[in-house]
């Protein structure tokens, strides 16, 4: 577990201010005035948000806060009523989802999307980008065999890392909920993303595996990737996040390290306001 000082040390001189919408020294994603309404309901209304490159940012908030909708907007799966955002300095508004993915911003889904009637290994190989064999004419010519072999090796290595290599030939439709989560995350990694956005990646994954998965997420950061993840389990958030962004009723209400967020009155109110019975585990066990 990372202690308070560890997170602070990691940031060093780049330490952002702990205010909603604060500036980051090297943002990979910058969001401005993005708003999405469903009828009378404002699901997302974010004035400004920056995500620091090469860090693990947790996006938390009560149910219905707009986290998934925010993911949908940023990755092109949904269109906002207003607003703009840029990725690596490049405007991304109204880009089709597959183009977003090709630029290196790849997301997973809260409700997993395993491709049921494809085997686990085929699911994985689908993730590889810019495959020659995905062109119809080249597909006929069989010039893609070497590439396919290389992708398969990479897929096998990832499956091993996620302890799913024994399920290689199974249909994805036969996997358990937790296994599907793992497969979807591993498949997203096949794309070699720069920014990976995980929507509740640990939901339904058994605790023993969660620990090793958390290790993998940290490895992603160490490989130079940026991770944004939505999570309800505060232990997980405390474990791996370098930064925490809190959403409630569509707005960013707080940003900071997990210690700061755990003490933030507004955040606690936001959770208690909508979920009186929710078990709040903000009180840091290390204290």
């Amino acid at each position: 577990m990372s202690s308070a000082s560890e997170v602070e040390t990691a940031w060093g001189a780049d330490r952002p201010e702990s205010t909603p919408g604060s500036k980051k020294s090297d943002p990979i994603l910058v969001v401005d005035g993005i708003r999405r309404t469903f009828g009378g309901l404002t699901a997302v209304d974010v004035d400004h948000l920056e995500i620091q490159r090469n860090k693990i940012t947790a996006l938390i908030g009560p149910n219905g806060a707009g986290k998934t909708t925010f993911f949908n907007l940023i990755t092109g799966f949904d269109a906002p009523d207003a607003g703009s955002w840029s990725y690596n300095g490049e405007p991304m508004s109204s880009l089709a989802p597959h183009k977003v993915a090709l630029k290196g911003m790849v997301r997973t889904f809260q409700l997993t999307k395993a491709l049921a009637r494809l085997s686990v290994i085929e699911n994985m190989k689908l993730g590889a980008q810019n495959q020659k064999g995905e062109n119809l004419f080249r597909a006929m010519m069989r010039g893609w065999k070497d590439e396919e072999r290389a992708n398969e090796e990479r897929a096998d290595a990832l499956l091993k890392r996620f302890k799913m290599d024994h399920m290689r030939e199974e249909f994805a439709g036969g996997l358990s909920g937790g296994q599907r989560k793992l497969l979807e995350m591993a498949r997203a990694l096949m794309t070699e993303p720069d920014l990976i956005m995980l929507d509740e990646p640990m939901a339904g994954v058994n605790p023993a595996l969660t620990q090793s998965l958390l290790g993998h997420v940290k490895e992603l950061r160490d490989e130079g990737r940026t991770v944004v993840f939505v999570e309800h389990d505060m232990d997980v958030v405390r474990d791996i996040s370098d930064w925490v962004v809190v959403m409630a009723e569509g707005k960013i209400i707080a940003e900071g390290t997990h210690e700061e967020i755990g003490k933030n009155r507004q955040v606690i109110d936001a959770y208690l306001g909508s979920h009186h019975d929710e078990d709040l585990t903000f009180d840091d066990e290390e204290e």
Partner: protein, 330 residues
């Protein structure tokens, strides 16, 4: 009742040009529905494109038959683009509605009186296929044991099944490729494919075009083998599409040989039940008040429908299908 001749007729039907026509149409539907999950209910429209694309240049402009092959394929590509462009970004059911309507629209269009100089109107087009039959090496009927084929039929059978084999070869190559994997991914969950950087719209369009070309080939084969193009419901109307679907599902969707074996069995069964009913009738086993002579054609489709329902109950994956895959059907 002469069982031998009923069976001989059924087997002869199994290899007939008609079976090859269904096989081609069903291969196209297998690409659409089996692999990509596209609901094309207008395969007859693609067949119309092929049939008229083939016959019109000969009939209206006096061009050689081979130019018609090119026009037939081009017409199918244009038809696919016109159907796909507005619908493939929408939910799957839009394509289904648009294809079934468009197929009927083109059939009514080609039979319009005002177009009869070009399309032959409601009379259709005859006598455009001589370029093909001039090449026929067979001069007398071909006999294998109890089977006998007219020279023209034999020549059409060869063309039809060569096309089917080429089509299967093509499918084998593309379906077992990364391209084919994207097709299946789109069938399973389009958004998952898009999240992984696949241009689902473009790939669906490619699938619609390729499967549509197979439909056009079926239409050309129909035109060639019968030597005529008719804008009738039996030839190019909705029943054609649904029989091709029946053949595909019978054989097993998303299986390489499913549409071919399904078509063979479909046509053979159709012929067999027809022979059986007629035989039973002439033997006096079925009273006239129960099924009259003209009702036999209808009766065999009823029997076939019951047969298909039984198949769906006891073997929903079709003859070649994988039972395991059916378990995850969503």
């Amino acid at each position: 009742m002469d069982f031998q001749s009923i069976i001989v007729n059924a087997l002869q039907a199994a290899v007939s040009p008609e079976a090859a026509i269904f096989a081609l149409a069903a291969i196209g539907l297998n690409i659409h529905f089996g692999y990509t999950g596209l609901l094309n209910f207008g395969q007859a429209g693609f067949m119309t494109m092929g049939a008229y694309g083939l016959a019109v240049p000969v009939f209206a402009f006096g061009w050689p038959l081979w130019t018609g092959v090119i026009f037939g394929i081009l017409a199918a590509v244009v038809f696919a683009l016109a159907l796909g462009a507005p619908t493939l970004r929408l939910r799957a059911d839009y394509l289904a509605i648009v294809t079934i309507a468009a197929a009927e629209i083109v059939r009514f269009l080609v039979r319009a009186t005002s177009l009869s100089d070009i399309t032959g109107g409601s009379n259709g087009i005859n006598g455009f296929s001589s370029d093909f039959y001039d090449l026929n090496p067979f001069t007398e009927s071909i006999k294998f044991g109890p089977f006998s084929f007219l020279p023209r039929t034999m020549w059409a059978i060869i063309l039809g099944w060569v096309l089917v084999l080429l089509g299967i070869g093509f499918c084998y190559l593309v379906v077992n490729s990364p391209w084919g994997r994207v097709l299946k991914a789109i069938r399973e969950d389009e958004d998952a494919a898009r999240a992984l950087g696949k241009n689902a719209y473009s790939i669906k369009m490619q699938s619609l075009i390729i499967g549509g070309i197979f439909g056009a080939l079926a239409g050309m084969m129909l035109a060639i083998s019968t030597g005529s193009v008719q804008p009738s419901p039996q030839d190019l109307g909705p029943p054609k599409t649904f029989f091709a679907y029946a053949a595909l599902i019978l054989g097993g969707t998303a299986r390489l040989w499913g549409p071919v074996v399904g078509s063979i069995i479909f046509i053979a069964l159709l012929q067999f039940t027809d022979g059986l009913i007629r035989g039973a009738q002439s033997a006096g086993w079925i009273p006239e008040w129960f099924i009259s002579g003209t009702e036999v054609g209808v009766m065999r489709f009823i029997l076939l429908g019951v047969g298909l329902m039984l198949l769906m109950l006891y073997r929903p994956q079709g003859i070649f299908g994988d039972k395991r895959e059916m378990a995850f059907d969503v």
